[in-house]
Subunit: 343 residues, 2 copies
DNA sequence: TTGAAAGCGCTAACAG
DNA sequence: CTGTTAGCGCTTTCAA
């Protein structure tokens, strides 16, 4: 048994393969596979010997080779959230993980802080079978191209080109419900604290939330809009700016709960009383909103519904073995007001 | 050119391979590779034709095959956090993602809510090159076995068997600093709200945090310990139980910031004034702690340091091409008090 | 119970 | 610029 191998003793740091283990244990590759994968047709002595050889050599099977060779491929999806520092996104990630796990899918999570939309999609496309995410690049054709055939489900946006799909949110309906109730409660002069970051690194553009507000809050409310950094600090700072600029405000809608928590804090600092002097409403429905003083009223987004809807789209896509990119599948989830103390 | 292929026309729903695209475009496989991967040596007409054929067929390269064939393998790590619903863990995940991205690694994130330690490690071991995570299974030998040679870096725990490594936290030092300053501020009768969930699904066992408290807080403080659910609600409920059971308390340490925010809220509900009646201190150092009223003092954990340390361990491991599991590498990070208003 | 052969689908190295 | 030839490391037939 004096086989000359191409990778002779001159080559250093070669990967340890199943072949090395087989040779060390004095068995065939197939027997090593049987031992490593706890298969039936093997004598336990042999298994033992193989396992020891494998451990001694520090053998680790190549996940690529085994997935390639085995009929039963594992599925994986990529998830791109906007940030890990906003609980809304991580709670959505939690829901996506739950629905994915139930289907036996792996999830690769990243955030937009780690690269441009196109970079992230392009990298993920080589690693996963479908991509979910918050993508803000206006050019949908470019997004689809970067995905190289891997289906993409976008959140809070409407897909318009083949290969892209979406789970959008109906803010018009949600914000209308919110404003109606605020009016019932006596509010009439509205303000908005808008996020500056949603389209970063592109120039600022009005968000869906702002556009819905502008359409529904009444003409006099268009002057009471401030754009602030998308963070708690930004919310606090934005509130102070808004409060000073717009006397007579009695209700403020804030881009998201994180900023709204900051706004509540900012109002506190200013000695403004909530909800007596001004009502504050966030958007997202974070459970954390219940610990501010007063607790935060909000337009709650059903994260589980969003995750499930996205997963259903992918189910449909994976079953449909058609040729070519699939026409967009577009679904919508409607946020619902959640009344606590701040409004 | 009348090659008979095994997978003939009878087989349905076969995967579309590079070969199919090559045939459709009337070129070789290699040319398809060149077109798909934007390589240089190809005429743009040809590239165009291939790309069209690929799109028409709905071709998607197999990530397993391409990773197997290409010299430049991609690295991936798995990260198991305890929960996506506690910002501490997601902020740690954010840091891990940052350091991983900087090294060109992919990250597969999951949470302990999705399976047992052994299941998660076993699944991840087939998908990634190293595993980071919060694992509570007492039997380290079993953990190492489940990892099948993939190095594991455990958080908040000390590795003791080959193949496992750890980034531990020095709570004794941190809590000592905390108690010393609390005493300086006039506190003398301490209480603790401990988490019940840290060792789930195993029977409850005292956490590192509790053991450090018990060692340092003084004999009379041993009676003032309540075990509560690891959530904001649990923190509120725990505080009320503790407050009723232990008159005369003047400082309460809470297992983590999430529970501490609940405790602050619970105290509020009870009409207990903070910090006048009782000082409350959390552990974690969440920025969210700044929006409670009063804002939360805490023992802050440097999440970036934890993430970096874990990544460094893996760097070391990947370079050291030794045979067999590596002896444990153990590192420690020391939490630091962060004083805000609640204490 | 074990081994030998034949791929999985792709890319690298070379020819042409 | 394009095609041919070898593998990557593993699992699956199928024989022995």
């Amino acid at each position: 048994m004096n086989v000359v191998h191409q990778r002779g003793e001159t080559v250093a740091k070669q990967r340890i393969t199943i072949e090395d283990v087989a040779r060390a244990a004095g068995v065939s590759r197939q027997t090593v596979t049987r031992a490593m994968n706890d298969m039936a047709e093997i004598r336990s002595e042999t298994r033992q010997r193989v396992l020891e050889a494998a451990e001694a050599l520090g053998y680790r099977p190549s996940r690529f080779a085994s997935n390639l060779a085995s009929r039963q491929r594992s599925h994986a999806i990529g998830l791109v959230i906007a940030s890990f520092r906003n609980p809304y996104y991580t709670e959505l990630a939690a829901e996506v993980l739950d629905v994915a796990t139930a289907r036996g899918w792996q999830v690769v999570v990243c955030s937009r802080e780690q690269g441009t939309d196109l970079e992230l999609i392009s990298t993920l496309a080589g690693q996963v079978d479908a991509i979910f995410g918050y993508f803000v690049t206006p050019d949908q054709t470019a997004l689809a191209a970067a995905a190289r055939g891997v289906p993409v489900v976008m959140f809070e946006r409407t897909a318009a080109v083949p290969g892209l799909h979406s789970v959008d949110l109906d803010f018009e309906q949600g914000i209308e419900a919110l404003l109606t109730e605020l009016r019932n409660r006596g509010a009439s002069r509205f303000g908005l604290i808008e996020s500056d970051a949603a389209t970063d690194p592109n120039p600022y553009q009005p968000t869906q939330r702002r556009r819905a507000y502008e359409k529904l809050a009444g003409a006099h409310s268009l002057d009471s809009i401030v754009v602030a950094e998308e963070s708690m600090r930004g919310g606090a700072e934005g509130f102070q700016r808004l409060w000073n600029a717009s006397p007579g405000l009695d209700a403020v809608l804030v881009f998201n709960d994180l900023m709204a928590m900051g706004a509540v804090h900012g109002a506190h600092t200013l000695g403004v009383s909530i909800p007596a002097d001004v009502r504050i409403v966030g958007i997202d429905g974070l459970s954390l909103g219940s610990v501010t003083t007063p607790s935060l009223s909000t337009l709650s987004i059903d994260r589980l519904a969003v995750a499930k809807t996205a997963a259903d789209i992918v189910d449909t896509l994976l079953e449909a073995h058609d040729a070519g990119p699939h026409e967009p599948i577009v679904r919508t989830v409607t946020p619902q007001p959640l009344w606590r103390e701040s409004a």
